[in-house]
Amino acid sequence: MVEWSEQERTIITSIFASLDYEDIGPKALSRCLIVYPWTQRYFGAFGNLYNAEAIKTNPNIAAHGIKVLHGLDRAVKNMDNIKATYAELSVLHSEKLHVDPDNFKLLSDCLTIVIAAKMGSSFTPEIQATWQKFLAVVVSALGRQYH
């Protein structure tokens, strides 16, 4: 069981409370596809991904980035049981989407970097540590049902 202090809970809920999903979601996903191009393998049906410009302006990618970011809402609401919360999504990513679970960490790193760029110096080392702990728990839960 993951233990969360009151401070950690506050940090996570407050980041999500002020999160601009329509801005951050697309930026995080498109950055992941550009920085780690092999992750494009999961998006064959999304249209033009030929270069960075195409990825950044692709509306399907933007929409999907927003969707993925909203997917984190459930973890925020159920911080004491993220593993169970994502059991079904984990099965989906394994059985249907066939996503290599190592890739979850790549997207999570890009999300962290986009949020750091947005928040600037208010993304303190302590906030970074808490945020990364949260994402690590999410990533672990998403990989849990793979076999």
């Binding site: 960075a52 962290t112 986009v114 600037g120 990364q132």
Partner: protein
């Protein structure tokens, strides 16, 4: 994943802006790493308290970043440029090379914070590749 001419140009261009703030950025990156990845503190136990305000931590971050700057200047021969540092890390410091990736992530995060406009996804991929190559050159003498 070796560096293309485009990668090298992007890194050098970004470093024109990085250089005047190099010490500050290095201090920030190292301080963050010690807070967000506590296992890395094992390499600095001789400094006692490792909080972000610790002067030794901040100074050392600056030293590290200066070496990265040197690597940028010697980007065409990273193995040669970093050979002495590789020996230091291999035989004296014995830092597990997995940690180079961790510090790299924190350097990238700090760069994104300091240069939100310049640190585009394209620049990010080139810097990520560059730091990977630096890590590789730094591990050269390990075994």
């Amino acid at each position: 994943m070796s560096l293309s001419a485009t990668d090298k140009t992007r890194v050098k261009d970004l470093w024109e802006k990085v250089t005047p703030k190099s010490a500050e950025i290095g201090a920030e990156a190292l301080a963050r790493m010690l807070v967000a990845y506590p296992q890395t503190k094992t390499y600095f136990s001789q400094w006692g308290d490792l909080s972000p305000q610790n002067a030794q931590v901040r100074k050392h971050g600056g030293v590290i970043m200066a070496a990265v700057g040197k690597a940028v200047k010697g980007i065409n021969d990273l193995t040669g440029t970093l050979s002495a540092l590789s020996e230091l890390h291999a035989f004296k410091l014995r830092v597990d090379p997995a940690n180079f990736k961790i510090l790299g992530h924190n350097i990238i995060l700090t760069l994104a914070m300091y240069f939100p406009g310049d640190f585009t996804p394209e620049v990010h991929v080139s810097v990520d590749k560059f730091l990977q190559n630096v890590a590789w050159a730094l591990s050269e003498r390990y075994r």
